[in-house]
Symmetry: C2
Subunit: 369 residues, 2 copies
């Protein structure tokens, strides 16, 4: 089943849109109301580049919600259960955001640019609206905006060589989530050691969308000797690495989950700062999570259906698998999802239904690799 | 330029997804994180059915934000500048929502189901997050949720015949935006006289997504004698009719606008109730809107680029055209957009740039038909 995407004015185009079209993008998805490349026509080669070489991805749809003003730090801290007191300028953090009932509403990376300016590099929900509402309702002295920032990811084991060639050898010493403001031949950007893969790499937060094609071409040129090629956030690699995807693995409106269920309860600080959802999460912590984040291996090679599937114990639904895919490296079909906690050690056979039949599933730890 | 859409678990599938695939959907867009059909392979026939016959559209992506509880009416009223004091149960209203600075953040239809229960049938932004934040920050006694509701639109001059056949002759007397809770052979739904076209019609708010295909087929069968066929919200018709599209015509993050600029300042009630954005809108009303919503006719038949274009006066940008298309009925290329107010009566030549050259544009009133 393949369908075209209707490209109309309601979908935003990325700063790299023209460059990706020129370089052969085949499919798009939509993320934060913006077109994001899905693949460039050769998914196997794109996976291999990510695992063994270097890939470049248009991830401009990972929009920035900028908090700017004297109360920027105060608002950032209110929005997340994670304690930010030790975050320094030039550091990033993975910061789940929760609503007042403790449900996850996004899981951005926070970048502290200055004491008065933070970015939330957001997953697919309108945190701009959320942060605006909280800021105004609490009379905070702050501006919430979406600045002209378009991340370009360079990912894979050779990404560091490409970054070193572009920005200098010192980038090899960057710590994970560390970032600096740079200028690349007149192109303003924030260079961060980060990205939505576990293969290592950098994200170039371009700060002038009119220079998208120029930046794309510089990265492409510098990466040529390392075999760089275009690609996109990779579902198989993210499953192997156990990386979460807000919207796929959980979403407030349809399959909500809290941080304890999703496996990052360790980031919740109930002892320190005040934050939205604190009372609800304290209660959850006291009674224990009712569901648990798991990996599964699945017998056979069922076709991924493009949506969640129920995780069954006989005829009983005991959880869901958000996404699964065959992993060449694992040598099996792997998936991630949530299961009712009382079924974790139950030692009963589990299965999913796909391609018209049941496939046995076995719980396993995450990451797979 | 055509591209595939990557259908993954991050994009929700509508209750009618299987039915639309079976009936030949060709392209999708994404709206409220859900796939929405774009066309079924024959745009001209789909337009003609809407104008002269009857069309059925999967508009389940028009999600409902449900406000339920003793403070439901209070919250609904806080969220919109429009005065809701005279809205009765069973009535709908077009209710722009604004942020604290008076910028439009969505323009839903509000449905009052009971004194304690309202739906906001929302355009493409996460009003669920916005309403949740406001409700909690103001300690309102209310639950915000997304219920299992999937609108199916039946639009066109013969839509009323199809609805009468399905639901009885009394539907011919329904007032615009009037609705009732119905049961169609065991399928629970809210039947409303509404829809995103000016050709007349109904929206069937299905209340059990497992019955999507059953409802689709009942409508298809009842409409057969009237030549019903599948379609989708139609860009050309909406331009002819001057219907707004949040996301295309304005969006908070990228091209924000206020109600006065967008031409619905008449809905703003500054004298009565308290609402979010009131102070900012009072100030805007006092000084006058800096921009004005306009229609334009455009010389020639330039290719719609799938994004906004600048409206130029010589080399000066004086506004933007959100979308344009050739209208058979008008006999011209038509568009809508915003222009700086001081250029409205300026009697200087305007133009847009498309297909590599300038095309003269003339301001005109909206709707075009």
């Amino acid at each position: 089943m393949t369908f075209q995407i209707g490209i109309g004015p309601n979908l935003r185009k990325s700063a790299y849109f023209n460059a990706t079209v020129r370089d052969g993008v085949s499919s798009f998805s939509v993320y934060n109301h913006m077109l994001i490349p899905g693949n460039f026509g050769d998914p196997e080669a794109e996976y291999d580049r990510l695992i063994n070489g270097v890939a470049m991805w248009d991830v401009a749809a990972q929009r920035q919600v900028q908090l700017e003003g004297p109360d920027a730090g105060k608002l950032a801290q209110l929005l997340t259960p994670r304690n930010l007191s030790n975050v320094r300028i030039g550091q990033g953090r993975y910061v789940p955001l929760c609503d007042h009932d403790g449900w996850v509403i996004n899981d951005p990376v926070l970048l502290k640019l200055s004491d008065d300016c933070y970015w939330l590099s957001v997953a697919d929900s309108d945190i701009h609206l959320w942060a605006t509402a909280i800021a105004h309702e609490r009379d905070l002295d702050i501006q919430v905006s979406e600045p002209d920032v378009s991340p370009l990811a360079v990912q894979g084991p050779k990404a560091v060589d490409v970054a070193a060639k572009l920005f200098g050898e010192q980038v090899r010493d960057f710590k994970y989530f560390g970032f600096v403001q740079m200028d690349l031949d007149g192109i303003p950007l924030v260079l961060a050691r980060s990205g939505w893969s576990k293969q290592g790499g950098f994200e170039l937060y371009l700060q002038d969308s009119s220079l998208g094609e120029a930046l794309w071409d510089k990265v492409k040129e510098a990466g040529a000797e390392y075999g760089i090629g275009p690609g996109a956030p990779n579902d198989t690699e993210r499953l192997e690495s156990g990386l979460l995807s807000y919207g796929a693995d959980m979403r407030l409106q349809t399959h909500r989950a809290n941080p304890y269920e999703m496996g990052f309860g360790g980031l919740v600080d109930l002892e320190g700062h005040d934050f939205i959802g604190k009372a609800a999460l304290a209660q959850t912590a006291a009674v224990g999570a009712k569901r648990q984040f798991i990996g599964v291996t699945i017998n056979g090679t069922p076709t991924p259906p493009g949506h969640q599937v129920s995780l069954m114990s006989g005829s009983e639904t005991v959880g869901y698998i958000s996404e699964f895919a065959f992993s060449k490296r694992v040598g099996k079909t792997i998936g991630i999802g949530l299961i009712n906690s009382d079924h974790v050690g139950a030692d009963v056979p589990l299965s999913i239904f796909a391609d018209g039949k049941n496939h046995a599933a076995q719980i396993t730890s995450v990451p797979f690799i």
